[in-house]
Symmetry: D2
Subunit: 120 residues, 4 copies
């Protein structure tokens, strides 16, 4: 019989995924402009860092992409979506450290595990 | 026949309502703790001020209510909801200034028009 | 001195705005595909109809716009945003009936009051 | 040197976490009543099943908890939050099948990996 109970490393990766899905779907759709980019980035970091095992969250708004979207539009703001974001999240559990990252790839905001490291 | 075309004052009140519904439902559910209360309040203000005709948004997190909710809980954060918030939004259109407010009333976050003033 | 206390009609328009902002910012960002368009439209209607004074909410997903967005993409779903939606909301208070509508105008989802009618 | 590149099983667990965080933070705060519980549950299932590798999502609204919350309230609806939900999500990647579950534990909606199985 195959063992199917999750390992500590797998659980740490599951936790990291939760943080990414939370961050994205809590804040997608927020009205954003160059003037409000910094405060939403800070709020996203602080909010998600509240979640269990979340050691750090870093959010960058791609202001070039944001300005380009606004140049095409009749409005002075747009809605926050993945194409304006780069995000790094580090999750630390008792035994593991997991580094993750979201960035645009082929027009789609790809969330990926970067490394899974046993803590010594 | 009764005239049913909206007046400029009614349109300003409709705009004010949009801002309140947007603020509440964009940010409800955000993980919040005393440490992250300031940054989410600032982000809510800056985000909603992007919307058309929105002159100012002021958000206060009721830290006493927040601490009380956390004291009852096994977690160190909770989810943002109306009972932790007081909000004032001012909408200004060409002809009208509308002041609105949300605060707790009988356990329910009540959003209300405070004043509708013709601009001179 | 000018009277600034809101009228019953203005309050009804404020309520209508709340429903629109709520609907938009609760559901913007939801993963959507042609297969899930009907169930999210129904859920949006039922959820917002819970709010006070909300007599009816009708949501249509523009499947042509949705298919076009997916044809341009490497993914089989996208995120719900205003350009895929048409919405009608009717608010009824003791004295007024307010009809409102959201549809795309110049690439921007415009929410507008259609009529404000005194109830006889 | 320790190997830190994520395994296929860890990646599947990360994907499962994304689905859970997305589901929770997209829909938390939605107005909900006994009458709208079924349609929001269906919409949550269909929306999240759009995401990559997501084989199935099952959502149950705990109507007893919902009725109890409404009995304590002056309103006829409340906001969707974890204490009204049970959720099961199955993620299937090329090599792994991951089963996950969210349910209330000590007043906190706990998301957990149930099993991680190699596909034969």
């Amino acid at each position: 019989m195959t063992e199917t109970a999750p390992t500590a490393a797998q659980t740490a990766c599951f936790e990291a995924g939760i943080k990414f899905g939370s961050l994205y779907h809590q804040f997608a759709g927020t009205p954003i402009s160059p003037d409000s980019a910094d405060s939403i980035a800070t709020a996203m970091e602080d909010a998600i860092e509240n979640q269990p095992h979340c050691q750090s969250v870093d959010v960058w708004v791609d202001e070039v992409a944001l300005e380009a979207a606004l140049a095409d539009s009749s409005a002075e703001y747009t809605e926050l979506t993945g194409r304006f974001l780069e995000v790094e999240i580090v999750v630390v559990t008792e035994a593991y450290r997991v580094e993750t990252r979201m960035e645009m790839q082929d027009g789609y905001p790809l969330m990926a595990l970067e490394s899974v490291r046993e803590r010594s």
